[in-house]
Amino acid sequence: MKPIHIISILLIAFVLSFLIFKNKDNTSYEDFQTSKENTDKYYHIVGNLDKTKSQIYDPLKDPNHFVFVMIDNKGNAEKVIYKGVKPDGFDQAEKIVIAGNYNGNAFHAQKILMKCPSKYEDKESLNGLEKKS
C-alpha cells in the first residue's frame, strides 16, 4: 500500500468515528414522558405555555431563575426551570420549544425557543396600517 492510502484511511476512520461518537449529541423531539424515563438524556420538547399556572420570575431576587409550566403536545404539563432571563415576548409565544433534561421534579431547560405569532408577516403590519388610516 502507498503511504497516501494509509494516511487517508486513518483520517477517514478518525472522522467517521467522530461522526458516530458525536451523533449522540444530536437530540430528538420527544415528550415529557420520554424525558422523565430517561433523565440522563437531553431532548427537545415542543409545547404550549400553561397560562393558567403562575410563573416565577423575580429579577430582583435572581435574574437567572425562571420557572413556568408547559404542556407538551400529548397534553402532559410539567414544571420547567430555566436558568436565564425570561425571554422577551414569552407570554405571547404561540409555541415554545425547550431543550434540556428532566431532573428531580422539574424539567431543566438549557434553551428556550419561541415561535411568535406572525413574525415578519405582512398581514399584521397591514392591519396596523388600516388602523392608522
Partner: protein, 815 residues
C-alpha cells in the same frame, strides 16, 4: 403574475400609481432572461462547434448586462422616490430610512440579492469579453446560463401552476389582498412603508451582502473553466487560467463570510463572531471546497498529478454554492437558523436547477475518470504534493462533517426522521473542527517549505527546529500559566478535559506555524518575491484567525457571572445561562474588577438609552462610561425588545455589554394591577411578594357575605401580615377597605370574589415608584484584535496573491 400584463396607463382605476416602473421593469426582466439565454447558446456554439458567433454572443452579453444594471438602477430609484405601491419597496423601506440603508433594504429581500448576484456575474464577465479564446467563451456561457436561472427566479411566472420565485415589480395591492386595496385612493392611505428590519440597519449590512455575493458569483468562473476542461480536454489552458480566479473566488467569498461574522459580533446578541449557524456553514463549506480546488490545481500545475480531484472539486465547489442557496432560500432550515428566510415556493425550482447544472458534469466526469492523464509513480513522502493532498483530504473531511450536520433538516425531510439540532451547538462543531485545525495548521507551514517531487532534509531542518522550539515553548507556557483557564474547566466533566487538551494543542501548532511562516516571509521578502510573500501571508492570516478565535471565543469570560441568586448545584454549569446580572439604579454593583453604576434612562417610542459607568478598581485608567441602546421592533401589535450590544475595545480585550431585560418603559408601567388568585397563591410586585395565606370563616347569611383575608407580605424590610376585610350587604353594596403595607409602598384591596371558582380578585396599587433596574450580560473577549488582524491579513494577502498570479498569467500570455 403575468408578464404580458397589459393595462392602459391612462385608464388606471387606482389613483397616483406609477405603473411605468411595472411595465418597464417587466420588459427589462424579459430582456435579461432572453438575452442571457441567447448569450449562453451563442457562446457555447462558438466554443464547442468552432463557429464564429462571437459577435452575436457578445451583443447578447451586453444586452444582458445592460438590462440587469437597469433593473438595479430602477429599483434603487423606486426606493428613493418611495413608490409604496410596489410591494418590494413597501416591504423593505420606510420614509425615515436613511439613504445609506436603502442599499441594505435593496438586498434584504430575496429578489434584491438575486439581482445583486446576477449583476456581479455581468461585471465579472466584462474581464473575459476582451478575450477571444474558447476557454473564455465557456466561462461567459456559464455565467450567462447561471444568470438565466437567476432570471427565472425573479420572473415570478406561473408555469404548470407553480409560481417561480417572486418578481420585484409586483404591486402591493396584488401581493396583499385586503379590503382597503379595493379603494381607488388606497395609495393615499398608505403613508409609510413597512421599514427595514432593525438588525439590518448596520453599516456591515451595506457592505457584507455585496461582497458575499461577489464571492458566490466568482465561484461560477472556476466552474466554467472546469466545464471547459472536461468538454475540450484542454487541461493545459485550464490549469494556467483557472488558478488566479480560484484565488479570487476564495478571497472574495472569504472576505464576505468574515464581514458577516463582524456584523454578527456587533449587531447580534449571541456574543460571538461565529456561531456555526446553518447559514454561516452553508457559505463556509463552498469556501473550504474552493481552497481544496485551488490547491489541487496547484499540484496539477507542478506535477501533472491530481487532475481528476481538481475537476471534481471544481464542480462540487459550485454545486455546494447552489446547495447553500437551496438551504437558505428554500425555507427548509426553518427554526434552526437565526437568519429568517421565508419559503417562496423555490424548493423544487432550486433542486431542479441544481440537478440540471451539477449532475451532467458529474456523470461526464465519472465517465472520463479512468481516461484522464495520470502519473504512474507514487508521490514521495518528502514531496510537497503528497502532504498537500493530505491537507486537501482533511479539508474535505471538515466540509463533509459541516454539510452533514447542517443538512439535518434535509435528512429529516428525506428520511422522515425527527433529529433535533444539538443543544450546545458550539461545542458540537468545535470539538470536531478543532482537530481538523490541529492537523491542518502545521501542514500550512511545513508543506509550504517542501519542494515538489522531493525535498532534501537539510533544506527544512533549521527552520523546522526553530519553529518546533517555539511551538513547544508556547504549549508549556499555556499549560503552566494558564492563558487558557484549563484548571477551571477540569472539574466540569471529562469531556471538557478532552476539549481543553485540544485547545492547548491548537495553541502550540499555531505558534509553530506562525513562527515558521514568518521565517519564510522574511526570506522571500529579501528576495523581492512578492507573489510568494502574499501566499504565505494569506496562510499566516488564516492561522491568526484561528488563534484569535481560540483566545477570544473559547476563553471568553462572563464578568456578570452568578453574583446573586440561588445555587442550583452541579447540573447547571453553563456560564452562558447564568451570566445575567441585575443592576439597580444608583447602586454600584461589583462585576469582577469593575464597579458598575446605572445612572440614567432615556425613553422614546422606538429606543431607550441607559447610561452606565464601569469603574475599574484595579486600573482606574481603564474605567469608562457607556450608553447602551435598546430598540423596540414593532411586530404586529406587539413590541419586541432588541438590544444591540455595546462594545468597549481595549488593545488586549473587548468588553461586550448586552441588555437582556429591562422593566417596561416608564409610561407603560401600570400603577394599578388586578390579579385573580386562589388561596395559597402568591402575588409578585417588583420589590415584594404576597402570599395569600388564609381566609377567615365566611359568613354567608341572607345573601350577605363577609370575611377577612390574610396576606403574608414579604417586602424588602421583612415579613408582615396584612388583613383585608370584605363584605357584601344584602342590598348588594360592597365594603372593601384598602390595606397599606407597613413600608407604605403598596395599597391592596379585594376587588371582587368569584365564589364558584374559589377565586379572589385583588387590586394592587403601587404608591412608591419602585427602583429602576436593568439586567445586563457583560462578556470579556480577550485578544479579539488578533482575530480581526488575522481576518484583514488573510483577505488582503489573498487578494494580493490573486493580483500577482493574474499579472503573471497576463505576462505569460503576451510576452
Amino acid at each position: 403574475m403575468n408578464l404580458f400584463y397589459i393595462r392602459s396607463f391612462t385608464e388606471n382605476f387606482y389613483q397616483n400609481e406609477q405603473l411605468f416602473f411595472l411595465h418597464f421593469g417587466q420588459f427589462l426582466l424579459f430582456l435579461f432572461l432572453t438575452s442571457s439565454f441567447f448569450a449562453t447558446i451563442f457562446y457555447s456554439i462558438s466554443a464547442l462547434r468552432n463557429k464564429n458567433l462571437e459577435k452575436e454572443a457578445k451583443f447578447f452579453f451586453y444586452i444582458q448586462s445592460f438590462s440587469i444594471i437597469s433593473v438595479f438602477a430602477l429599483i434603487i430609484y423606486m426606493f428613493f422616490s418611495h413608490r409604496f405601491e410596489y410591494h418590494y419597496i413597501w416591504r423593505h423601506s420606510s420614509l425615515s430610512l436613511p439613504w445609506y440603508y436603502i442599499l441594505s433594504a435593496f438586498w434584504e429581500g430575496q429578489e434584491g440579492s438575486f439581482i445583486l448576484w446576477a449583476l456581479w456575474h455581468c461585471i465579472l464577465g466584462f474581464y473575459f469579453l476582451r478575450d477571444t479564446k474558447h476557454a473564455s467563451f465557456i466561462v461567459l456561457a456559464t455565467l450567462s446560463f447561471v444568470n438565466f436561472w437567476i432570471g427565472t427566479m425573479i420572473s415570478g411566472w406561473e408555469i404548470f401552476g407553480e409560481v417561480m420565485g417572486s418578481n420585484p415589480f409586483i404591486l402591493l395591492r396584488e401581493e396583499i389582498q385586503a379590503p382597503i386595496m379595493q379603494q381607488a385612493d388606497y395609495l393615499s392611505k398608505i403613508k409609510d412603508g413597512n421599514g427595514l428590519n432593525l438588525l439590518l440597519q448596520n453599516y456591515w449590512m451595506v457592505i457584507h451582502p455585496p461582497v458575499l455575493f461577489l464571492g458566490f458569483a466568482s465561484m461560477t468562473i472556476p466552474f466554467g473553466y472546469t466545464l471547459y476542461a472536461i468538454l475540450t480536454k484542454d487541461f493545459d489552458t485550464f490549469k494556467k487560467q483557472v488558478y488566479p480566479w480560484a484565488i479570487f473566488a476564495a478571497a472574495s467569498l472569504g472576505t464576505g463570510i468574515i464581514m458577516g461574522g463582524m456584523w454578527a459580533y456587533e449587531a447580534l446578541s449571541f456574543g460571538g463572531f461565529w456561531a456555526w449557524d446553518p447559514v454561516e456553514n452553508a457559505s463556509f463549506v463552498p469556501w473550504i471546497i474552493m481552497i481544496g480546488f485551488l490547491h489541487s490545481v496547484k499540484i496539477y500545475q507542478a506535477t501533472q498529478r491530481n487532475l481528476p480531484w481538481a475537476l471534481l472539486l471544481g464542480i462540487l465547489g459550485f454545486g455546494l454554492t447552489l446547495y447553500s442557496t437551496f438551504l437558505t432560500r428554500s425555507g427548509i432550515l426553518g427554526d434552526s437558523s437565526v437568519h429568517s428566510f421565508t419559503d417562496n415556493g423555490l424548493k423544487m425550482h432550486l433542486l431542479m436547477f441544481m440537478g440540471c447544472l451539477i449532475l451532467p458534469p458529474l456523470f461526464y466526469l465519472a465517465f472520463l475518470w479512468s481516461g484522464l492523464p495520470k502519473v504512474k509513480q507514487d508521490e514521495k513522502v518528502s514531496s510537497r504534493e503528497f502532504w498537500m493532498l493530505i491537507g486537501i483530504l482533511i479539508m474535505i473531511l471538515s466540509a463533509i462533517q459541516l454539510t452533514y450536520a447542517t443538512s439535518i433538516p434535509v435528512w429529516n425531510l428525506l428520511f422522515g426522521l425527527e433529529i433535533a439540532p444539538p443543544i450546545q451547538v458550539n461545542q458540537y462543531y468545535n470539538s470536531i473542527q478543532i482537530w481538523i485545525a490541529i492537523f491542518l495548521i502545521p501542514l500550512m507551514s511545513i508543506v509550504y517549505d517542501l519542494k515538489f517531487i522531493q525535498t532534501p532534509w537539510e533544506k527544512i531542518k533549521k527552520k523546522l527546529l526553530i519553529s518546533l522550539g517555539f511551538g513547544v515553548l508556547g504549549w508549556v507556557l499555556v499549560c503552566s500559566f494558564g492563558v487558557l483557564p484549563w484548571w477551571q474547566m477540569l472539574k466540569i466533566s471529562s469531556f471538557s478535559i478532552y476539549l481543553i487538551s485540544s485547545q492547548s494543542f491548537l495553541f502550540a501548532v499555531s505558534i509553530f506555524s506562525i513562527v515558521y511562516l514568518t521565517i519564510l516571509v522574511v526570506d522571500f521578502a529579501q528576495q523581492k518575491n512578492y507573489k510568494a510573500v502574499a501566499g504565505r501571508l494569506a496562510h499566516m492570516g488564516f492561522i491568526l484567525v484561528i488563534l484569535g478565535a481560540l483566545l477570544s471565543q473559547f476563553n471568553k469570560k462572563a464578568l456578570s457571572n452568578n453574583i446573586q441568586g440561588v445555587n442550583f448545584g452541579k447540573e447547571f454549569d453553563d456560564e452562558e445561562l447564568s451570566s445575567n446580572t441585575l443592576i439597580l439604579q444608583g447602586e454600584k454593583t461589583q462585576m469582577k474588577d469593575f464597579l458598575v453604576n446605572y445612572s440614567n434612562r432615556i425613553d422614546s417610542s422606538e429606543v431607550s438609552y441607559f447610561d452606565l459607568s464601569f469603574y475599574e478598581t484595579q486600573k482606574p485608567q481603564d474605567s469608562f462610561n457607556m450608553r447602551v441602546e435598546l430598540k423596540y421592533i414593532q411586530e404586529g401589535t406587539e413590541k419586541r425588545l432588541n438590544a444591540e450590544p455595546s462594545i468597549r475595545s481595549f488593545w488586549h480585550k473587548d468588553i461586550f455589554v448586552h441588555v437582556t431585560s429591562v422593566p417596561p418603559a416608564a409610561a407603560n408601567r401600570e400603577k394599578i394591577t388586578k390579579v385573580k388568585k386562589a388561596l395559597k397563591d402568591t402575588m409578585y410586585t417588583l420589590e415584594s411578594m404576597m402570599i395569600f395565606d388564609d381566609v377567615s370563616d365566611l359568613n354567608d347569611q341572607n345573601k350577605s357575605i363577609s370575611f377577612t383575608a390574610a396576606l403574608k407580605y414579604v417586602g424588602p424590610k421583612g415579613v408582615e401580615t396584612l388583613k383585608l376585610p370584605y363584605s357584601i350587604k344584602s342590598d348588594g353594596s360592597i365594603h372593601n377597605p384598602e390595606a397599606m403595607t407597613p413600608d407604605s409602598s403598596l395599597k391592596i384591596k379585594i376587588n371582587k370574589i368569584y365564589p364558584e371558582e374559589q377565586l379572589f380578585e385583588f387590586e394592587i396599587e403601587q404608591i412608591k415608584e419602585s427602583k429602576d433596574w436593568i439586567i445586563l450580560k457583560v462578556l470579556e473577549f480577550p485578544m479579539i484584535r488578533l482575530l480581526w488582524f488575522g481576518c484583514v491579513l488573510m483577505c488582503l494577502a489573498t487578494f494580493m496573491s490573486f493580483y500577482f498570479n493574474l499579472k503573471k498569467l497576463q505576462s505569460n500570455a503576451n510576452p
